[in-house]
């Protein structure tokens, strides 16, 4: 992937992605594309296959069928560390901080992707922590951080790997309502700097706020793909997930 090659239209292209666990079809024939710098929201009821989709894209699980292309290159089934190095980062729904390491050390692990020098990694990590507003907690052990702080930590850690596309799995889940606007502003700022994002969210206000496009999943299938306003009024989406009470 040299700099002189022309940028393909899509940064990420997913086609025919299918995965079953035993008798349960978690993802069936999922297809969509994400353009460079685009922010795509993913919504759907629990069990719709959203996190499985992330796992398939980032190499944590091998799909039964289908393809994942990053920058036109086939990355289907590659190991997660390889996919991270190709520019794809992710956070987890169930937070996975390195508990016995400090916040700074956590982020340094991400920073080490681009440098072997400890001092340089530390500087990058301090920078990333500052960006997410955790600079004052740098020396704290990760196990001592609150949920909201852990979310920010995981974000900073993934950002330190310098991804071009970041997959956020329920970044506002379990966070105090008062802390959500701050997090959303952070995501919007990252997007403004050119980072492409796929954001799984249950909070519809957040989706309406930042998503340029929304993918709706139900029972492992894509049931709608389009601008947020359109999706919110889609009959299938309302029936499957939103409910009548929702007013966009």
């Amino acid at each position: 992937m040299s700099v002189t090659e022309p940028h393909p239209a899509s940064l990420l292209e997913v086609t025919g992605l299918t995965k079953s666990f035993g008798g349960v079809v978690a993802n069936r024939d999922i297809a969509f594309a994400v353009r460079p710098g685009e922010l795509v929201g993913v919504i759907g009821p629990n069990g719709a296959g959203k996190s499985t989709l992330f796992d398939l894209i980032t190499g944590f699980t091998r799909p039964d069928a289908g393809q994942v292309r990053l920058d036109g290159h086939d990355v289907t089934g590659l190991r997660p560390d390889r996919i991270c190095r190709l520019g794809l980062g992710r956070t987890f729904q169930k937070l996975r901080p390195f508990h016995d390491m400090t916040a700074l050390e956590n982020v340094m692990i991400g920073a080490f992707l681009h440098t072997a020098d400890v001092a340089e990694a530390r500087a990058v990590a301090i920078d990333a922590l500052a960006k997410v507003g955790l600079a004052d907690r740098a020396a704290a052990h990760a196990r001592g951080l609150s949920t909201g702080q852990r979310k920010r930590l995981e974000l900073a850690r993934a950002l330190a790997t310098r991804p071009r596309l970041l997959l956020l799995d329920e970044v506002t889940g379990g966070v105090d309502p008062g802390a959500i606007p701050g997090l959303v502003a952070l995501v919007r700022e990252l997007h403004g700097r050119g980072l492409a994002l796929i954001v799984i969210e249950h909070n519809m206000r957040v989706i309406m706020d930042i998503a340029q496009r929304v993918l709706a999943l139900q029972l492992g299938e894509v049931i709608a793909d389009g601008p947020p306003a359109e999706i919110m009024r889609d009959r299938r989406v309302i029936d499957a997930y939103l409910g009548e009470a929702w007013r966009a």
């Binding site: 560390d81 980062g89 700074l104 050390e105 692990i109 080490f112 990694a121 330190a160």
Partner: protein, 329 residues
């Protein structure tokens, strides 16, 4: 203040053989250094990287047998034999690691036990390398550094063992402060999260395994040249693998000085019970070990080093925090 204390301790260790000239005290210290370096080597893989190997005697035995066979058949100085032993141990460790690192937690440990038994059984039945009879290291007189044999006094063995310990500690310290050290700790915590951040988990585990195996093998060569007789029962047994683990866990895994502290407590205990109870000492010290492990597990899982830090009224630093603090100083 701490610096001064450390210097005094270092000086004491260096002049010890000059003050204590009888063989037994020197032997105790040599055993402390040897077990300390074996446990420190094990700690790199198990304490820092979180891969609990219960088959490390394999590398100890490979070190012992390789150098001894090269002395016997090629009249090669054990110093070079030591390097060959370490190299072979690394190769074997990578071969074992390749399938075994796909396993996690307890299954990994069980698999390493399995490989340990396999290697011991092979050596037990391989007549060309001595089989069950073992190997005698050809005696060379007079005492010579080149031949790595000293019959008149244990003093030189003392300093060689100390050098081995220093090497193991130095390697640990170097890794601790490098990117690899951070990666090891991340893998220990959550290897999947580490992979999502670009860490090549398998490769890092194999690297930890290689360093650990090489250092362990060096200890094996030292042992061969120290006791001048090796056999599968003495250098390959499961009990040795477990003892190495015990020493490290007792002292405090994942810390630089923990394993050495563990050795400094367990070796005198072992020798002490043997002296007090004659030949039956071997069983009683295992009973005491068991009791100590239970106490540690319940009251101070961080090991003796955790206890020391508590008593010194300093919060227990993670290895990384200490490295951070030190490099900032």
């Amino acid at each position: 203040m701490r610096r001064a204390l450390a210097l005094v301790l270092l000086l004491a260790v260096l002049v010890f053989p000059l003050i204590f000239v009888r063989p037994f005290p020197r032997h105790i210290m040599i055993m402390i250094f040897l077990y300390g370096s074996l446990a420190t080597a094990w700690n790199i893989l198990a304490g820092y990287c979180g891969q609990i190997s219960l088959g490390h005697a394999v590398y100890f035995g490979i070190g012992a047998y390789t150098s001894t066979l090269l002395v016997r058949d090629a009249a090669l100085t054990p110093w070079l034999g030591m390097l060959f032993g370490a190299a072979l141990a690394v190769v074997v460790s990578q071969a074992i690691g390749y399938p075994v690192f796909r396993l996690r937690g307890h299954y990994f440990a069980i698999a390493t036990i399995g490989f340990g038994e396999i290697v011991q059984t092979i050596v037990l039945n391989w007549d060309w390398i001595g089989g069950a009879r073992g190997l005698f290291v050809p005696i060379k007189r007079p005492d010579s550094l080149l031949n790595f044999q000293f019959h008149e006094s244990k003093a030189v063995y003392y300093y060689i063992a100390l050098g081995l310990l220093a090497l193991a500690l130095g390697a640990t310290r170097w890794i601790e402060r490098s990117r690899r050290g951070y990666y090891f700790r991340a893998i220990k915590e959550d290897q999947d999260a580490a992979a999502s951040l670009g860490v090549q988990v398998a490769r890092e585990k194999q690297a930890a395994m290689a360093v650990s195996a090489a250092l362990t093998a060096l200890g094996g060569t030292f042992w061969a040249q120290y006791v001048l007789f090796i056999d599968p029962e003495s250098v390959f047994p499961l009990s040795l693998s477990i003892l190495i683990c015990l020493v490290a866990v007792m002292g405090g895994v994942g810390s630089l000085w923990g394993p050495l502290l563990g050795a400094a407590v367990l070796v005198p205990l072992s020798e002490g019970t043997r002296v007090l109870l004659g030949g039956t000492g071997k069983a009683l010290d295992l009973v005491i070990y068991g009791a100590l492990i239970m106490l540690i597990a319940v009251f101070q899982p961080a090991g003796l080093i955790g206890l020391v830090r508590q008593l010194a009224r300093r919060p227990t630093l993670t290895a990384g925090a200490r490295a951070q603090r030190e490099s900032a100083a």
